[in-house]
């Protein structure tokens, strides 16, 4: 599947970061989404690790078991 639109520099950085992030994990990104500040197996763990890393206002997301289109049926 190919995208036909140009990618912003910010999106390119985010894409690169997400490709390196562990799957089926909770990931905390810096507010500018330029780096991973913490990774955990639970939301609470990654929130705590973010604080420990000195980033009190991260953006937390959950990575799926594999990247791809989502229809929210994965168990």
């Amino acid at each position: 599947m190919r995208a036909y639109v140009s990618m912003s520099p910010e999106s390119a950085v985010r894409l690169s970061i997400l490709r390196t992030a562990p799957l089926n994990s909770w990931v905390a990104l810096s507010p500018d989404e330029s780096r991973i500040v913490a990774v955990g197996q639970t939301y609470a763990e990654v929130a705590k690790l973010s604080d420990a890393a000195g980033e009190a206002d991260p953006i937390i997301l959950k990575t799926p078991t594999q990247w791809g289109p989502v229809s929210f049926t994965e168990r």
Binding site: Y43, A44, K62, W67
Partner: protein, 147 residues
């Protein structure tokens, strides 16, 4: 993109995600946080939720509920009919912090949700005029309902 106050419309860039083929996909998503309906209750940290007009209500990973002190399974049990079949979710009333200020919603919490959260018709879309701008890879959000 924060969940604080804003005036008028705001443009929310689509978020990029890897796909299975070494390429990428875009989704509309927003950083939000949740809190209990208790005065001065602390919010969760911001987390990324997918904007999903196909979702009847907002749904969040059960771990986020637990981080607030909720026991997800002490909520109202609801069976949600999705593309993949029937799923068990648990409903709690919480404060959802979105652009323009927080709103009180009935949110579903689900174990093993593959993402952190979904922003659905009830609790999210009802508060905005939302336009998907495919060429700009963004959506315009205009808050139309304050509570």
């Amino acid at each position: 993109m924060g969940a604080g106050l804003f005036h008028g419309a705001m443009k929310v860039p689509y978020r990029i995600y890897p796909d299975n083929f070494g390429e990428h996909l875009y989704c509309a998503a927003l950083d939000v946080s949740l809190a209990l309906l208790v005065p001065y209750s602390p919010r969760t940290k911001r987390f990324e939720a997918i904007i999903d007009s196909g979702a009847t209500r907002c749904m969040f990973h059960a771990e986020i509920g637990r981080s607030l002190g909720l026991d997800p399974k002490r909520g109202y049990r609801e069976r949600t009919h999705g593309i993949g079949g029937v799923e068990e979710t648990w409903i709690h009333q919480v404060s959802l912090h979105i652009p323009g200020g927080p709103v009180t919603i009935f949110a579903a919490f689900k174990e093993n949700l593959p993402i952190a959260g979904l922003l659905g018709m009830n609790g999210f879309f009802e508060h905005f005029n939302l336009t998907f701008l495919s060429e700009a890879l963004a959506c315009d959000l205009e808050r139309v309902k304050s509570t």
